[in-house]
Amino acid sequence: MASACKKARIGNDLGLHLRAAGALVQRACAFTAEITLCHGRLEANAKSIMSVLSLAAAKGVELEICAVGDDADAAAAALQQLIEAGFVA
């Protein structure tokens, strides 16, 4: 099983806010891989908006994106890009 890890820093002023979390979950759900977001010792399932929100990740926070599954590479890269682009698809 392939796996991939990437890091991404949250650059938009409002942090991982409601709509941003929604956009992230939507993107994550397009992949079959299991995707976990890590913020310090907190972990979240990238396909669950409640879980993603519970990271309470503000601007400047660096998240680690870990994906496991056939499309792990593409999934981790896509989420990294989305986060770094400030959640504009």
């Binding site: 990437k6 979950v25 669950s48 409640m50 309470a56 601007k59 770094e84």
Partner: protein, 600 residues
């Protein structure tokens, strides 16, 4: 019913949306939600889980209904918030967690729901970030809706607002308003909002600002003290609420409301007037845009053209690099919308990590000082070639200027000029219509460029000062880092002196200069920029009417004197004090002029 003292009461909150209104209280009471906690036995687990699922399904349907009614009302602002709320309710892992708790801990649906949402709220409310802290409230609203549905009651506020034609304007007073309430209330004629909870970024605050009605949030105690139909004065500027005002308080409120109404009228009326100081010095006010569609907004707010078109979306909104034709069509369309008015296009201002995907680039440890903007373009000439060719071709269709971001010195400028000449020669050779002599200017945003401004001015057509980056590099402060953000001071003596030298260099070379950073849209900093001799400001659409109004109240020679005093200061605090005193004097003078005019 509690006995309510019928005397005036004053409450202090946070002014969340500008304006002053006198009206009558309309209390919006959500009441108390029942939240029973009890144990269930194994046979009841399935029943509780079914109740839970039904309540969630009903809640989703209600949010969906609210969304549709908002869409039908033509207001799409809150839509995505409501969508996100729907997504939260549908979140399979969250639902599974609630259902799991019912089964594992043998507790009723309400209890399981409150345990799960409490944990989430705590996580959000324990952060330092005020915006994320308020999102804890979003979770609370959702839980409340599901709880109400579990209880079988009304999940919606009953909106029996007084008739819009009623004598006194209706001021909604509530403990808190959910995004759904806010979206629905947005369609009624509410004159102002007061809430006990919330902050500057809560939904009611955002909605009030978009409706341009006053709002005060975090006014503790106001809900308990107010009665329906009480007279109320709310001032969204100073964040005050007066219940049952005395005749004196009422008179003061009326004066302030009239002043506010006059100001709003003036701001809007000023749209068509020139941005001219009282002693006749004219400024050009332009807009900053990120998307072609924003051109109409800028013109509608009185902008005279586009001073900064950020072209980044051309690169980030697609899967393939844009071609010369893509750039050509995009800018040609912008020029058509502007109908002869000036358009300044900034070439690509991003780093490789955003463009070529993370795989192609080793992450830079310090992107602000890395391979980005013009550095990236000179390194990836095929990307730059397409943009330059497209721009040179589009230039035949209107009043176009091209601006280079992050130029550090004359060597770099020369390299870019040579590249432009090369692209123009290729176009010439293939017989494509283009303009080789498009005015080519630079963003002055790196201190090295500011210090070499005189040399650069001799070799380019215009300067645009990007104050955000210039200040960041000059003061070595990242504004996004809250531990040092307070050290980001536009009125630092070093910043003033450097800006003055750049303005002088442009004047000496006879090239136009504009300021396009956030300083340009800050009404408090306009006098200083004016005093330096700046003649053009480019800003976001919402700032345009306010800056114009400020300019029209100023005396140019007084601004020059202010700048001289400011340049003699040795600390940012001293400069800030000078500016504050200056603005207070200007406002006082303005009021005196108005009074004299009214007395005549």
């Amino acid at each position: 019913m509690n006995w309510v003292p019928r005397r005036p009461r004053v409450f202090r909150g946070i002014g969340a949306s500008w304006g002053v209104t006198l009206g009558r209280v309309f209390l919006l009471d959500r009441g108390v939600v029942r939240e029973p906690h009890y144990d269930v036995d194994a046979t009841q687990v399935a029943t509780e889980q079914a109740r839970m699922q039904a309540a969630i399904d009903l809640s989703v349907a209600q949010l969906h209904g609210a969304r549709n009614s908002v869409v039908a009302g033509g207001d799409v602002g809150p839509l995505s918030i409501l969508e996100a709320h729907e997504m939260m309710l549908r979140d399979p892992s969250w639902v599974a967690e609630v259902q799991g708790r019912i089964a594992k801990e043998r507790i009723n649906a309400e209890w399981a729901l409150s345990l799960v949402t409490q944990r989430l709220r705590q996580a959000l409310e324990s952060t330092d970030d005020p915006y994320l802290r308020e999102r804890g409230g979003d979770v609370g609203f959702l839980a409340e809706r599901v709880l109400r549905n579990l209880a079988g009651g009304h999940a919606e506020l009953r909106l029996l607002l007084p008739d819009a034609t009623a004598a006194a304007p209706c001021v909604v007073v509530a403990r808190n308003l959910s995004p759904v309430d806010a979206a629905l209330l947005g369609r009624y004629q509410v004159a102002a909002f007061v809430t006990e909870l919330g902050g500057k970024t809560s939904h009611v605050a955002i909605m009030a600002r978009s409706l341009e009605v006053p709002a005060v949030v975090a006014a503790r105690g106001v809900f308990e003290a107010a009665g329906n139909d009480d007279a109320i004065v709310i001032d969204g500027g100073e964040g005050s609420v007066v219940l049952r005002p005395s005749p004196d308080q009422l008179a003061r409120g009326a004066r302030r409301a009239a002043a506010h109404a006059r100001r709003t009228r003036e701001v809007l009326a000023a749209k068509a007037l020139p941005a001219q100081t009282r002693d006749g010095r004219t400024l050009t006010l332009l807009g900053n845009v990120e998307q072609p569609g924003e051109v109409e907004t800028i013109l509608g707010r009185g902008g005279e053209g586009i001073g900064l078109y950020r072209t980044e979306f051309m690169f980030t909104d697609r899967t393939q690099m844009p071609t010369a034709e893509d750039h050509y069509q995009d800018v040609k369309g912008m020029l058509a919308r502007l109908d002869g008015r000036p358009l300044t296009v900034r070439t690509l201002d991003l780093g490789g990590d955003k463009l070529l995907g993370p795989l192609a680039y080793a992450t830079e440890s310090n992107p602000a000082l890395g391979l980005r903007a013009i550095r990236f373009c000179l390194h990836h000439r095929e990307v730059f070639r397409a943009q330059v060719a497209g721009l040179l071709r589009a230039a035949v269709h209107g009043n176009l200027r091209i601006m280079l971001p992050m130029i550090s010195g004359v060597d770099e400028l020369r390299e870019v000029r040579a590249f432009f000449a090369e692209v123009a020669a290729e176009l010439q050779q293939s017989g494509v219509a283009h303009r080789a002599d498009v005015p080519l200017g630079i963003m002055v945003e790196i201190p090295s460029a500011a210090l070499c401004a005189a040399d650069l001015a001799a070799e380019c057509a215009f300067f645009s000062v990007g104050t955000n980056d210039l200040l960041q590099y000059l003061l070595a402060v990242d504004r996004g880092n809250e531990r040092v953000a307070h050290m980001y001071r536009p009125l630092h003596p070093a910043a003033l002196r450097l800006l003055v030298s750049v303005v002088r260099a442009a004047e000496a070379a006879g090239i136009p200069l504009s300021v396009c950073g956030e300083m340009a849209g800050d009404v408090e900093l306009v006098p200083i920029l004016l005093g330096m001799g700046v003649r053009a400001l480019s800003m976001q659409a919402s700032s345009l009417p306010h800056v114009k109004r400020r300019v029209r109240g100023l005396q140019y020679d007084a601004c020059v004197a202010l700048l001289q005093r400011a340049c003699a200061c040795v600390t940012p605090q001293e400069v800030e004090r000078e500016v504050k005193e200056f603005l207070a004097a200007v406002d006082q003078e303005g009021a005196a002029v108005l009074q004299a005019a009214a007395g005549r």
